[in-house]
């Protein structure tokens, strides 16, 4: 049985764990406005030092790809080796790549 979600609007939460790193999707929260979304995100996802920055985005603003298009979008074309940067040696000290 599917129950209707009557708990305010849905927002997606992105947390940056360290300055310089990307914001990573952590989950979602319910909230009636952006301020409440920010506070709820803080209460649920960053109470134990998980992050240094939070983004909240209305879930309805996100357009997801269609699974039917996966072939077209995500085929890695492994036969075309020139697509993959395997001929380089990573310089020492290059992090987070």
């Amino acid at each position: 049985m599917k129950t209707e979600d009557n708990q305010l609007d849905l927002w997606e939460v992105f947390i940056q764990s360290k300055s310089g790193l990307p914001h990573i999707h952590s989950g979602s929260v319910h909230a009636s406005d952006v301020k409440m979304a920010m506070q709820n995100a803080r209460d649920i996802y960053t109470r134990r030092g998980e992050g240094t920055s939070i983004w909240v985005v209305p879930s309805k603003a996100i357009k997801a790809s269609n699974p039917d298009d996966n072939d077209m979008l995500f085929d890695p074309s492994n036969d075309k080796i020139y697509r993959h940067p395997t001929f380089y040696i990573m310089p020492e000290g290059a992090k987070n790549i």
Binding site: Q7, H30, M36, Q39, N40, D43
Partner: protein
């Protein structure tokens, strides 16, 4: 009364405020209107419990009778608790929870800024840590007061009646006795008289924005500074102290 006894009672009073309000908020665990708010309230309860632990531990050290923070939290009689009457008032509805938090967090926002300047280094350190948490509690309570006050007719009416119901417990926030005055001369305690105007201004501005009326000053309840409480504290202690009384020294 010796200086040690005064400092013990002053610290105990600060600790009891955090302990009893923490317990009140923890009673809402799993009963919040939505999951997110449930977590917000229990997070505040945890902040307060941490503060209570630090303050009661320090009180036990000052007293010097080998009593731990647990002994102080769970093994005192009702008349030996000094928490503000406001902290023990029941969770009548969500509006009452928010009004209580707004009044207390606004007070604590000013109190702990002053206490951070205390000549007592332990109290000053605890205050420094606390103020960060209180800023968040205050923002949470102010936002909800405005949202409910300036919301639907029902949320407005409930918020207004919560403000009206709890108003008579706000006079106590600024009460001082001989202990405060003695410790004040030593630069340890906070002078709460100047805080009263700041508190009023801050509350007025939140209530105005929330389209709520500031209640007329009525008779103000008092008593907690002498260990005299409303009927609610006994019930809280019965629940809180049950385990320690039934199974003394129980360990997990």
């Amino acid at each position: 009364m010796t200086k040690k006894e005064e400092l013990y009672l002053y610290t105990l009073r600060l600790g009891d405020n955090a302990l009893i309000l923490s317990h009140r908020l923890s009673q809402l665990c799993s009963k919040g209107p939505i999951l997110e708010e449930d977590l917000a309230l229990t997070n505040i309860a945890l902040d307060l419990l941490g503060r209570a632990q630090a303050l009661l531990k320090y009180a036990g050290e000052i007293e010097g009778k080998n009593r731990s923070e647990d002994d102080l939290a769970y093994r005192r009689e009702e008349k030996n608790y000094y928490n503000l009457l406001l902290t023990e008032q029941p969770n009548k509805d969500f509006a009452h929870v928010i009004a209580r938090q707004l009044f207390i967090s606004t007070f604590e926002f000013f109190l702990f800024q002053e206490l951070e300047k205390s000549a007592d280094t332990t109290l000053s350190a605890i205050a420094g840590k606390t103020i960060k948490e209180v800023k968040y509690h205050l923002q949470h309570a102010s936002d909800w007061t405005i949202r409910l006050g300036d919301g639907t007719k029902e949320s407005h009416d409930r918020m207004q009646s919560a403000i009206n119901d709890l108003w008579m417990y706000t006079g106590e926030l600024f009460e001082m006795n001989g202990i405060d005055l003695d410790l004040l001369t030593q630069g340890i305690a906070v002078d709460t008289i100047p805080l009263q105007k700041k508190w009023r201004d801050c509350i007025n501005s939140v209530l105005n924005e929330a389209t709520l009326f500031v209640p007329k000053d009525t008779y103000m309840q008092t008593g907690s500074i002498n260990g005299v409480h409303s009927e609610h504290l006994g019930h809280i202690l019965a629940e809180m102290q049950y385990l320690q009384r039934a199974y003394p020294d129980a360990k997990w």
